[in-house]
């Protein structure tokens, strides 16, 4: 590591200098270094790679059910080697398995990819590096968090292959459907495994979240006040708080569901007659489950999107070569979203039989939460205005995020208005809404983060042009898939339908459904470009310069290949906020956070000048006194 110290922080090292700085922690065995590691960087990579694995599984599942939706008459015999008995004798997809696919797709994407894969990766990787800490507050808990996630993944993955099929009640697993194996075969062992996996997952999230919060509050380096935190860190902090407050409620819901399923209680079950038999359960309420679920479920959508916001804020500022516009307004809107996201859950339940007056209250809060969301968009736009924009792949994905968030956020205004939601609820309009606003936007945030911090994670660069190809295919592809779904939804097409041929009203748009399926398959295929670029670059990528994007935050002051502890020498101190880009008078178009104000007299703002003068006076007085 000695060599790294010699290198100037802000100077690029040339390619020829293939410094053989491998990690020199020879005392660590392979197991403690790469598997049961307590190093936040390794844990981040574990999360990332597990997340990528799950993203491909989740994507595969959607390709299979899109085949069914786009080409209902298609002969699917060729899938038998993969799906076995789930292909019926007539060569069709089994309708129950269709539901299993949809359910697992949703569960995997929301929880395993966009929660664990996104927060897990970037909170772990960036929090210590950007606040100037050597590691997380508790490396051990952090490791435990990943391994709980891993165990959860194993259980969930295993459930895909069992005889009765995985959980099939939708990712929201509403009882009674999810409570009664008689109702659907996926509610047998598959549902049990789903619940176990989610319990492990929640434990993992809580362990991780406590750690993120503690670390951010306690381990900031000297000078890193809350008002100098990069927006990434603000976003991770609030995400962790959201998770900490809402996941336990899902745990409670899961627990009660387990009781109803296995121990004869009636929390969610009442007056049920099924399969020729009247069940003894009386007095439970399926609506109670929905309240509990969405008390997590709505914050969950922000758990997914806030880290993506944090990441794009950082990337858009860096690549526009401008400070993020309205730093304080951005923090304010994050805070507002955090608080309000606990007050809107019942907008998913307007037509569930909920008291209509209660519905009106939730209409009000729902449309209030749209305001801070809009403020964020306006701030992004103003940050781009009169910038000097460098289109790195990360920047393109960030712009894509903003575009998706606008498209998907605006449809939220329809859905949040209960009178309109009567018609749109549980149709493809909702599918379009949340895939754009949450699914695609957060996915783009994740991709942006990977392209941006890959050089720091692996010390090498990803190929930019492959990144461009990946971006364009994915960006266009996602719009082709999800934008037309709005029309299907307005036409009334319900969600989670195996086929639309049974209804006159929905027996239209068959070409459009085929088109969407083709677009979905191509978009999925385009992700192989990314997978190749990612894995190949880990080993063969061009060695990364120390600060390839000319960025201000602390992680770029570390050596190319970081060891445990992040900085070989002292932890840098922080003297300014992270957004001094293109500051008038400055020599370069960026001034890293660890550059003291006293060495940049040419660019200091009046208030900063005063600060420096006061500082000088104080040191002078001190030295006089000492004499």
């Amino acid at each position: 590591m000695g060599k790294a110290k010699l290198e100037d922080k802000n100077q690029n090292i040339s390619v020829e200098d293939h410094g053989a700085e491998h990690d020199h922690d020879h005392h660590q065995s392979f197991i403690t270094k790469y598997i049961f590691s307590t190093d936040h960087k390794t844990i981040a990579k574990q999360y990332l790679i597990t997340g990528i694995f799950w993203a491909f599984i989740g994507g595969m599942l959607s390709v299979i059910f899109r085949l069914q939706l786009g080409f209902p008459d298609m002969e699917l015999e060729w899938l038998r080697p993969l799906l076995g008995k789930w292909i019926t004798e007539t060569g069709k997809l089994d309708p129950e398995f269709y539901l299993a696919l949809v359910t697992m797709h949703g569960t995997i994407m929301v929880f395993f990819v966009l929660t664990a894969g996104l927060s897990g990766t970037f909170s772990n990787f960036l929090i210590p590096l950007q606040i100037g800490a050597r590691d997380m507050a508790s490396g051990f808990m952090n490791m435990l968090s990943y391994w709980f996630f891993f165990a959860s993944s194993v259980v969930m993955f295993f459930s895909l292959f069992i005889e009765t099929g995985p959980a099939s009640g939708g990712w929201v697993v509403y009882p009674p459907l999810s409570a009664l194996p008689q109702a659907i075969s996926g509610s047998g062992l598959g549902m049990t495994l789903w619940l176990i996996a989610m319990a492990l997952f929640i434990a993992s999230t809580l362990l991780g979240g406590i750690n993120y919060i503690t670390t951010i509050i306690n381990l900031r380096t000297e000078g890193m006040s809350f008002t100098r935190l990069p927006l990434t860190i603000w976003a991770f902090l609030l995400t962790a708080i959201l998770g900490l407050l809402s996941f336990p409620v899902l745990f409670a819901a899961a627990l009660l569901l387990i009781f109803d399923r296995s121990f004869g209680t009636s929390f969610f079950l009442s007056e049920i007659f099924i399969n020729g038999e009247a069940l003894p359960n009386i007095g439970g309420s399926p609506i109670l489950y929905q309240h509990l679920f969405w008390f997590l479920g709505h914050p969950e959508v922000y758990i997914v999107i806030l880290p993506a916001f944090g990441i794009t804020s950082e990337i858009i500022a860096t690549n526009s070569r401008k400070p993020i516009f309205g730093y304080r307004a951005m923090i304010g809107s994050l805070l507002a979203i955090t608080v309000l996201s606990f007050l809107v859950w019942a907008h998913h339940m307007f037509v569930s039989g909920l008291n209509p007056f209660l519905g009106s209250v939730f209409v009000l809060f729902t449309l209030i939460i749209a305001i801070p969301s809009a403020v964020k968009v306006f701030n992004y736009l103003t940050t781009l205005w009169r910038g000097n924009i460098v289109f790195t792949p990360a920047m393109l994905f960030s712009i894509g995020l903003v575009s998706f968030f606008i498209s998907g956020g605006l449809t939220g205004i329809f859905l949040g208005n209960s009178a309109i939601d009567i018609q749109l609820h549980d149709t493809y309009f909702v599918v379009a809404h949340f895939h754009l606003v949450m699914g695609s936007a957060a996915f783009f945030g994740m991709m942006a983060g990977v392209y941006h911090w890959f050089p720091k994670m692996f010390g090498r660069m990803m190929d930019a042009r492959m990144g461009y190809v990946h971006f364009w295919l994915t960006f266009i592809g996602i719009y082709l898939v999800f934008f037309p779904m709005h029309y299907l939804g307005i036409a009334g097409f319900p969600r989670r339908y195996y086929s639309f041929t049974n209804f006159d009203a929905f027996n239209i748009f068959t070409d459009l459904n085929s088109f969407i399926s083709v677009a979905a398959i191509l978009t999925f295929a385009a992700q192989l470009v990314f997978a190749f670029n990612f894995f190949y670059s880990i080993f063969r990528g061009r060695l990364a310069p120390l600060n390839p994007w000319r960025s201000n935050t602390l992680e770029w002051t570390t050596p190319r290949f970081l060891g445990h502890g992040n900085w070989p020498g002292e932890i840098p101190k922080v003297y300014r906020w992270p957004y001094d880009y293109s500051k008038p008078g400055a020599r370069e178009d960026f001034i890293p956070q660890n550059v003291p104000l006293s060495v940049t007299p040419e660019s200091n703002l009046p208030s900063e000048k005063e600060k420096v003068d006061a500082e000088n006076r104080r040191t002078k007085e001190k030295s006089v006194n000492e004499k």
Binding site: G170, V351, P356, S403, P484, A505, S582
Partner: protein, 334 residues
């Protein structure tokens, strides 16, 4: 093989980069290309949106056939107008700024960290617009969620795996009591024949409704959640086991009128299920016929009560009510 090709492409890029020394430069020609592509995307996207919205209008626009549907539709279209304006403005700015302010060596970005007045403006303006939208929405919502008019026609709709059944109250205008423990293969509603109100209840295969009269759907489920969704009536309400729900509305176009309006002689109103309920979720279809009130009354008077179709169940009627049951069902005459 694909991986092989990708690997070669990757290497060539790398070598070209080294040869041109591009990684030493701040930006490459890709920057311009990406900026232009973003701009093209904007134009193409706007054009495609407009094209789809117009050319598919007749497909996605469902004619509305209920009174409240007229008001919820108008709020829908007002919201559509407002959000489309915002949509176009923000997307255009996003892509235009990206294109216009692409990297130029000589240009300095404008150091512009904040402007509180702007923040306040774009907090307050959306707040006002949204308030107006919810004001309209809540007004319509409160009206249609209000108690149903006294003289509403009552129809019970029961969802189960995987079909709907309907029950009308009969001449006494009262649905009989039910108990889920009394359900069996024939008595799908669990009708309780100790209650005299159930003697004349009838259960047709399809729903008939009078045009222009308030109708109250009483909605039940007996196994898992279902949801009554009648797209043309802009009506949706979950069916919940153990918790009856309801929805009232005024159908305002007969099936015949809709056939004329849509130009489709085979048009029929349909009810679908909108809450995932299992394997057959996608096939829970129920036909609805809306007719002129006279035709409706005529149809109603022709219906035979459930009990008269299932005389075995007379044995469930308590002794003291037997006579009444025979009378009401007309079974006494046989």
């Amino acid at each position: 093989m694909i991986i092989g090709i990708l690997a070669i492409v990757y290497r060539i890029h790398g070598l070209v980069d080294v040869a041109r020394n591009t990684h030493q430069k701040r930006v490459t020609s890709s920057n311009r290309i990406n900026a232009v592509l973003l701009f093209i995307f904007l134009i193409a996207g706007v054009a495609a949106t407009i094209w789809m919205s117009f050319s598919w209008f007749d497909l996605y626009h469902l004619p509305v056939a209920s009174e409240h549907g007229k008001s919820t539709d108008s709020i829908f279209w007002i919201t559509m107008a407002v959000t489309l304006v915002v949509f176009f403005i923000t997307q255009i700015l996003l892509f235009f700024f990206s294109f216009r302010y692409r990297y130029k060596e000589k240009r300095d970005a404008f150091y512009y960290p904040e402007n509180n007045r702007l923040e306040i403006v774009w907090t307050i303006v959306p707040a006002i617009v949204l308030s107006l939208l919810i004001f309209g929405g809540l007004k319509a919502w409160n009206n249609l969620m209000d108690d149903p008019p006294e003289q509403s026609e009552v129809v019970e709709i029961l969802g189960y795996q995987f079909a709907w059944r309907t029950r009308y109250p009969g001449n006494d205008n009262q649905l009989g009591a039910y108990d889920y423990r009394m359900i069996d293969a024939e008595n799908v509603f669990g009708m309780d024949f100790r209650d005299r109100a159930s003697f004349d209840d009838f259960s047709p295969r399809e729903v008939h409704l009078p045009k222009g009269k308030p109708v109250l759907f009483k909605i039940r489920a007996r196994d898992v959640l279902h949801s009554v969704f009648a797209p043309h009536f802009r009506l949706k309400m979950d069916a919940v086991p153990g918790m009856p729900t309801s929805f009232w509305f005024i159908p305002n176009k007969t099936t015949e009128e809709m056939r004329v309006e849509t130009g489709n002689p085979d048009f029929n109103y349909e009810i679908a299920c909108a809450e995932l309920c299992g394997r057959g979720h996608f096939s829970m279809r129920l036909l609805v016929v809306v007719e002129e009130p006279e035709d409706y009354e005529k149809w109603k008077s022709e219906q035979k009560s459930w009990l008269s179709n299932n005389p075995d169940y007379l044995s469930k009627v308590p002794e003291d009510l037997k006579e009444l049951a025979l009378l009401k069902t007309g079974l006494d005459k046989q």
